[in-house]
Point group: C2
Chain length 355, copies 2
Amino acid sequence: MNRVTIQRAPGIAEVARRAGVSIATVSNALNGSKYVSPVLRRRVEEAVRRLHYRPDSLAIGLRRRRTRVLGLLVSDIANPFYTELARAIEDRAAGSGYQVVLGNTDEDVHKQREYLDVFLALHVAGLIVAPAGGRGGDIDGPVRRGVPMVFVNRRIPGLRVPAVTCDNRQGAYLATAHLLTAGHRRIGLLRPDWLTSTIAERTAGYRRALAERECTYDPRLVRTGSATRSAAAELTEGLLTLPSRPTAMLVLSSAMVEGVLDALQRRRLACPEDLALIVYNDQRLAEFVAPPLTCVTQPTRDMGVTAVEMILAAIDGRRPVSPVPLAPGLVVRRSCGCGAGAPRWRRAFRHAKAS
Amino acid sequence: MNRVTIQRAPGIAEVARRAGVSIATVSNALNGSKYVSPVLRRRVEEAVRRLHYRPDSLAIGLRRRRTRVLGLLVSDIANPFYTELARAIEDRAAGSGYQVVLGNTDEDVHKQREYLDVFLALHVAGLIVAPAGGRGGDIDGPVRRGVPMVFVNRRIPGLRVPAVTCDNRQGAYLATAHLLTAGHRRIGLLRPDWLTSTIAERTAGYRRALAERECTYDPRLVRTGSATRSAAAELTEGLLTLPSRPTAMLVLSSAMVEGVLDALQRRRLACPEDLALIVYNDQRLAEFVAPPLTCVTQPTRDMGVTAVEMILAAIDGRRPVSPVPLAPGLVVRRSCGCGAGAPRWRRAFRHAKAS
DNA sequence: TTGAAAGCGCTAACAC
DNA sequence: GTGTTAGCGCTTTCAA
């Protein structure tokens, strides 16, 4: 192979020579691990500056058996929720001098396992993982090896892995209760088929709200399937063609929203008049769609920042514990038919028609 | 510090012992760098399997002076264009056994320089960069050090760094020409204040279209500012309150779209009736907004995949050259007032009102 | 065809 | 306080 050759950067030895000290002193001065006299420290700093010396992360990592790199594993970085989470994580990590390496699992435990192995081989200092649903991934392999790990967004019950989550039960409960209060009795539930804690908990929240209002749970109103646009459209159509159609619907993944809107349009049904809608996870889309979508929101950036702080704590040998699940919110817009939220585009349209 | 202790993974020495061969033979068997007899190779493979041996990426990196890691530097991973690009890059890189580390520059050349240094210290095999605008970042430091780099989306003229770009001139030209053909003569241009090649080229495309149709260029119609929602709204209002208001507008960054919609709403102006709109870079938003937005599109995934393939080529010692800029597209929806594209939500609303 | 041994750049004992 | 030195786990001459 005719590989490119990389120019050697100055090493600690060169700095030592330049500063007229030993390499140990350079190392000590740089790491503050030992006392170094101000004079020598100065000389070292000077040499570092002149040579543009930058310690070799690989050599340090090899020696210390740990790098300043964090592994981040999510199902799909293109999902806006994870994008925002990743941005928050990267920001917070960079603030503490850590790099972030990224992996997409596509909800596949095998990919997940492969990434974990790769990350371990890279000697990441810690792992932040939104675990894929289902068993078999041996997800706590890293933990047994002693590599700090925290879950984010999702968790896996029974594992001793701290998790920063949002209160999913509460989120779905809020949304369902809101619809019930508005008078709906037949509320459809659209779920992605991931076997994750999030979906299970949100489903529980939906059921609890129904039970509390003595609204009987009808399994035909619950549809579970692939979180793609077309599949979501199919599932929604199934719901809409039911003999006794639901009058409202809660969508548990933002990945399914487009499909729902497609189905509505195909059936020439208006939202919220024919079907009230609440979707999980706010997104840029929600505010601008017509009608604007009522959403369950999660404090995404907080979740990311907290996850990093937990992993940093774990790296420092403190034992982070799962914080209380963060509180979700309900942003009421027009799609649930409850009137709050400015009828933004309606107004624009009315005006357009008048002129 | 009471740092956590990490359990040692089996090393090559243990594999060698288990297989009853020397360390060198294990290495040779694993890397295929030398001939190893089938018998020994078998024994090595067997031992590898039993020990779940995984080579230490750091040690390999230190020795080879290069890791299987790619550095990706973009201005903001939360920007949907870069999200999609990153997803494509991560996929393609993983397919060739490379990890991706991520950095957000926020259009700041200093952050960019810092990340480049960090990535070099990590011995990344190559760098894929959407360079921040402006000078001073010493962006080709890595190149001088011999580390392969390719630009993506943006480029910096005068540097010997291959770039995979989209034809920005052509994109803005298409959009502007479309508006001119529809009869518009006063077309506003809304630009983010980044000093990037993309913005410069798109501006040139706008001007070329005007010139070709003998429509005089009016600098008051061109507004440049911070690509935030509120700033974009301000700039748009400036345009809308002009004595002779533009009848159409081209928005050069999707980050400014929300602000434009805000301004329109505040002024009670309808799109496309009062202002025809075309925005750069398609996004999920565009299809669902009311009215659906006409967009210039870029082959984002292709750009990412091509960038990875170029960097892999460079790593292999081949000299990649910048491909012909990829062709942008124009997806005509309703916001430009040219009638193509289904009046998706209009229909839903009409129906809603009839019922 | 296989193996021994010298480092890659750095940290951390330990000696001075 | 400062310096010497033995590795971290691997690749890669070079000798056998």
